[in-house]
Amino acid sequence: MKVGVVTFPGSNCDYDAYAAVQHVMGEDVEFLWHKSTDLLGCDLVILPGGFSYGDYLRGGAIARFSPIMEKVIAFGRSGGMVLGICNGFQILTECGLLPGALMRNSHLRFSCKHVYLKVEQTSNPYTQLCIKGEVLKIPIAHGEGNYYNFDNDIKKLEDAGQVVFRYCDVNGDVNSEANPNGSINNIAGISNKEGNILGMMPHPERVVEDILGSADGLKILESIRATIAVAKTVSN
């Protein structure tokens, strides 16, 4: 597979994503500069974490108008795989590829720590190699990760199975103590209806080898690789 990692001014997890794909998975990966308008034939576009445009105005609010985003939006709308991590998730909600918004953490502090995520959906291309209900250990690092949407829209998301990850404790129990930012229903990651676009606040690219404290991020990356491999076999 070929992965494109978008670099915005202020991205700071782009190299982590690049290293995870190239050095750990041994797959092709290219940086996509925010001013470029060419996705270079990538099978997956990653919008990485960081503070694009200094997070001025709101996280992701200005990045969504970068030239590359026009192509990313068209790619995602036509079924291409787009993964937004942390600031990338904020960009996906700002540009309307994913519903809702990410607000200031309810406690107003920046949170940087390992958390546990319960995998709620495995029919998704990003989690197909996980077991439903499986608990993943993946870190967060954000000040604006408090997922918000109106009650009706939350219900729609839940009913359509678009909530992919929830914050939970080590035993997989979803409770308020395990919620690091005040997100409604402990939501940590959601997909679009079709499942090809995923946004998540935690950082799977930071936990791809045991020496990093967890290799659970690989389960997501390996799910992506398996999805793309199948898609390529079918199209050939």
Partner: protein, 87 residues
């Protein structure tokens, strides 16, 4: 200022705030501080922000474009509302 420069440009101010019902943790924290300070008559605080826009005086009818600016960039219509005041 030289004489051939336009002296005064119309100004617009855009006020952005969280919609009703959306929790405002900053407002809650400020309110708690006020209570600790003894200002108990203030029963709630909501935060927001405002933007001052200088407008080219040749543009006489920019209302529609200003509205676009508000809804596309200055406010996130999912969680925020905005109000425009022309000076």
């Amino acid at each position: 200022m030289t004489n051939n420069k336009k002296e005064v440009s119309p100004q617009a101010v855009v006020y952005v705030r969280l919609k009703e019902g959306v929790l405002d943790p900053q407002g809650v924290t400020i309110h708690k501080a006020l209570q600790q300070m003894g200002y108990n008559e203030f029963i709630s605080v909501r935060t927001g922000r405002f933007f001052e826009l200088e407008v080219d005086s040749d543009s006489d009818n920019y209302d529609k474009r200003l509205d676009e600016v508000c809804s596309k960039l200055l406010a996130n219509p999912v969680i925020e509302s905005y109000r425009v005041e022309k000076l």
